[in-house]
Symmetry: C3
Subunit: 333 residues, 3 copies
C-alpha cells in the first residue's frame, strides 16, 4: 500500500500538506467540518478531508502517516496521542518530557541551555519576575513583580494570600530582551541537524500596546495578554547562528540519552538579551506555526537546498527517503 | 485592438505593472514626471510613461484598462473617477459606498462584521475611545479618552467646548489589540474568493514610540501619529483563516445585494483582540499597498498557485481570462 | 588564474558566498575555526574554509577577491584593510570617510541629506536629544534629554560634571519616527544605481520594551539598549521610493567628487518622520546585514531582474561582468 500524509486541519496543516504534495504524496486532512473548504477549496492541499477529531479506522485504511503539530496534540490530548494506532512521524516519548515542566527543565538543563530562574518561594524573589497562571488562556492575568514585597501586594489583590495558594502559579525570572524563535529539523536518517528558519511571534495585545503612548496606557488601565495570532519572518545576526545550531545539537544529544531521541522539526523559544545571551523558555518538539511564513522556503533553506523547502516539505522529503531506503519504521512511532 | 494595462504611477503600480507583464500585457504608467524614472529606468515595468494626472485621450487611444488603487482615487477624486471614459477594472459603484462612512457602515453591518462602536454624543462614552479629526493628515492630533469627563477635558484644550463643535470629529471605541490586514481577491468570472496575503502596516510614529521607555515618553511630551510608510509581511494563525475567509465571503454577498457586486482585490482593516475577535475598521475595495511585500507571491498564493502570483498579477490573470472568454465587459465599468 | 570570491565568515557571508556560487564562482570563507561548520556543513557555501583572521598569503595564492562587510572591517581594523594586498571589491578610500564622524557628515551634507543636529555645547540644547557614548557597546547607557537642564541632571548622575568631560559623548538631536534602512547597489561598470531591498532592524532590548506596559516599565526600572540582533523584511510606501533613489544618487555623486567614487552595495540608515522626511544617521558603505532576509531576492529585485538576486549575488554578477569585459581592475582596490 502507498503511504499518504495526513494531519489535523489546523496550525500548520496547509504547509505540511503542500509540502507532501510537492514530494508526490497523496494527502489527507481531518478535523472540523467547518474548515473543510479551507483545505479543499480555497487551498486545495488535501486530496481528501475526513470529518472527525481523529478518525482512526479511516486513517489506518488509507495508509496514513500522521504528522503531529501543536493543535493536534492539544486537541487530542497526550494520552490519546500516545495510544494512537496510526503511524506517527516522530518520537511519541517526547510528549511527556515536553508537557511536564520539570522533565522539560531536566532535558533543557542537560542540553546546557540557559533557562530563566524559577522561584518556589516568593520570599526569595531577588530580581524582576513574571507570574504565570497555569491554564490561563493567552497569558491573561500574568503580572510582573520587581521583588517579594511587590509580589505579595499584587498577589493579594487577586486572592493569593499565603504560600498555600501558590500551586496555581509559576514565578519565573523576567528576562528583558526580544523574542527569537529558531526552527530546526533533525534528520534521523542522515543524522544531521538543519536550521530551517526563524520567526518572531505576533501576539495580541502585547504587540499592540507599544503603539499606545505611556500616558494613554495609564489612563486606559491597560492589562497585557500574550495570545499568539501570527508570525513575522526574521533573520538573525549571522554571528549568532553557530550558537543557535550548537544549542540545537545539544538538545538532540540530550534527547538521545534521556528520551530515546528527538527527530523531525522542533523549536526553541528564546529571549535574546542585550548581552547576546539566548534564554530558553520552552521547547516545542514538533513543527511550530512560526514556520508558516516560509512555505516557499526561508533564506536559510534556500541557501542549503537552492529550491523551495519549507519545514512541511522537509518532513515529506524525510519520509520519502525512508520509504526509498526501506527504513520507514525507524522514523515512525 | 489589444488591451494594455495602465495605472497611476504610485501606491502599488510596480506590482500591478510587473504582474501585467508577467501575463504578457503591454503596460502604461501615468503620473508625475518626477517619478518617470522609477517606472521606466530603475524598475522598467512600464512600456510607456504618460505625464499627466489622467491623460484620458491617450489612454483611450492606446487601449488602456485602468487598474485603480488608493492613490489614483485620492488623487483624481471620486467624481472624476466615476465619469472616466477609459475602461476601469472593478465596480465604480463601490466608490461611494466606501468613501461615505455611513454607507460603509451599512455595508459592513450587512456583512455581519464586528465594527467599533461610534459615539455621536460624548456624554455617552462608556469605554475608551479614540477621537479622530476629519481630514487630519496621518492621524495627527488624534487623542484617546477613557470616559466622558476625560473627553471634555482634552477636547476643551483643543478648542472644542460644546456639542455644537463636534462636527469635525469622530468618536470611536478604542479597540485594544493588534492590526491585521487580510488581502482578498474575488474573481467575478470564476465566482470565487481567494485569500491573497496578510500584512501589518508600518506607521510613523506609533511604531517608533514603543522603542522609547515610558519615562522618556513622558519627558519628551510625545504625541502620536499614524502615517503609513510601509508594510511587514505576516502570516496569521491558521485556525483563524476560515473566519477570515468567511468574513470576505459575507462582504462579497452583501455587496451583491447593495451595490451590484464587488470584484477584484479588496482588504479588511482589522484589529484582532485577545478574545480572537476581528474588529473591522474599514474596507478598501481595491488593491492595497499591503500586498507590496508579496510581489513574488505570498505563502498563501504559493499554496494555491504553486507559482509566483501577486495581487497585481492576479488582476492581470483575470483580465486575460476575460479576454479569452470574450467577457471583458463583465469586469470593467 | 581564475578569480575566487572570499569573505570573512560572519555578518552576510552566507549571502555573499551563496550569491557567488549562483554566478559560478569558487568560494572561500576565512575566520574563526568555531564557525567553520556553519559555512561548510550546515550551509555548504564555502568550497574552502581558511582558519585565521586574514590569511593573506593563502588568499593571494588562491586568486581571492575579498568582499568586505561590517564585521570584516571591524575585526581587522581600517588600517589593516587599507594595506591589504588581496584584491578588495570596492573603494578603500571610503573607509576613512565613513568612520570619521566629521568626514561622514561632510559627505552626507554634500549629498544634501537631512541629518540630525549635533550639539557641541549642552547649553545650546533646544530640542530633545539622545546622548551617546563613544564606544558604548550596543548603545547601553545612552540617554534622552529634553533640554539643557535635563541634560546636566542626567549627565551629573553618571559623572559628567563640566564641559571638560564632554569628549566621551555625542549629543544628537533625537528624531521621533520609525527606522527605515534602504539598501542600494551602484554598478560602476554600468554607471547605474539600483534599489535592492529595505529592512527594519531588530534590536534588543528596545524592540522588547514596547511589549511591557508603561506601569511595569517604571517598576522594573528598565534601561534601553540598541544591540542589533536581526532584521525584518519590509517594503516602503511606493510614493517615497523616488526620493529614496534620489538620495542614493546624490550620495554617489558626492562620493565622486570627494572620495573618488563609491561603488557596490551601501545603505542609508534613516529615521522616517511623520512629516515623511528621511533623517539620515549614518551611511554604511558596503553590504549590510539588513540584506540577509532577501537571499532569494527582494520584492524590488524581483521586479528588476525577474530572477532571485540578492545583494550578495549582485556583487558576484558585477565581478563576473568585469571579468568578461576585462575591466576587473576598475572595481577592485
Amino acid at each position: 500500500m502507498e503511504w499518504r500524509i495526513a494531519t489535523y486541519a489546523s496550525h500548520s496543516a496547509l504547509q505540511i500538506l503542500k509540502g507532501a504534495k510537492d514530494e508526490g504524496f497523496g494527502t489527507i486532512a481531518f478535523g472540523k467540518e467547518r474548515v473543510k473548504p479551507l483545505y479543499t477549496k480555497y487551498f486545495p492541499v488535501a486530496d481528501e478531508f475526513l470529518v472527525g477529531e481523529y478518525p482512526e479506522e479511516e486513517l489506518l485504511e488509507k495508509g496514513a502517516i500522521v504528522i503531529p503539530h501543536g493543535s493536534f496534540v492539544a486537541h487530542l490530548g497526550i494520552e490519546k496521542v500516545e495510544s494512537m494506532k496510526v503511524p506517527y512521524y516522530g518520537n511519541k516519548a517526547v510528549l511527556r518530557w515536553e508537557s511536564d515542566r520539570e522533565l522539560e527543565r531536566k532535558w533543557l538543563e542537560k542540553a546546557k541551555l540557559k533557562l530563566p530562574k524559577v522561584y518556589d518561594d516568593p520570599d526569595e524573589i531577588d530580581k524582576p519576575v513574571i507570574v504565570k497562571f497555569h491554564g490561563a488562556k493567552g497569558g491573561k492575568g500574568y503580572f510582573l513583580a520587581k521583588d517579594s514585597k511587590d509580589f505579595w501586594e499584587k498577589a493579594r489583590r487577586i486572592g493569593i494570600k499565603s504560600k498555600e495558594s501558590l500551586k496555581e502559579i509559576q514565578i519565573q525570572e523576567y528576562i528583558i530582551g526580544v523574542p527569537v524563535y529558531p526552527h530546526y529539523f533533525y534528520s534521523k536518517l542522515n543524522e544531521e541537524l538543519e536550521l530551517m528558519s526563524i520567526d518572531r511571534r505576533y501576539e495580541t495585545n502585547v504587540d499592540g500596546i507599544g503603539r499606545i503612548l505611556a500616558k494613554d496606557q495609564f489612563e486606559l488601565s491597560l492589562e497585557n495578554s500574550y495570545v499568539v495570532v501570527g508570525n513575522f519572518p526574521i533573520v538573525l545576526r549571522e554571528s549568532l547562528l553557530m550558537e543557535v545550531i550548537e544549542m540545537g545539537e545539544r538538545v538532540i544529544r540530550a534527547a538521545k540519552g534521556l528520551i530515546g531521541g528527538l527527530w523531525g522539526p522542533f523549536c526553541l523559544e528564546t529571549i535574546l538579551t542585550d548581552e547576546l545571551e539566548f534564554v530558553v523558555f520552552e521547547i516545542s518538539a514538533r513543527i511550530v506555526a512560526g514556520t508558516n511564513p516560509f512555505i516557499e522556503g526561508s533564506p536559510y533553506t534556500w541557501i542549503r537546498y537552492n529550491k523551495p523547502v519549507s519545514t512541511g516539505r522537509r518532513i515529506a522529503m524525510e519520509i520519502k527517503q525512508a520509504i526509498e531506503e526501506d527504513s520507514i519504521d525507524e522514523i515512525l512511532t
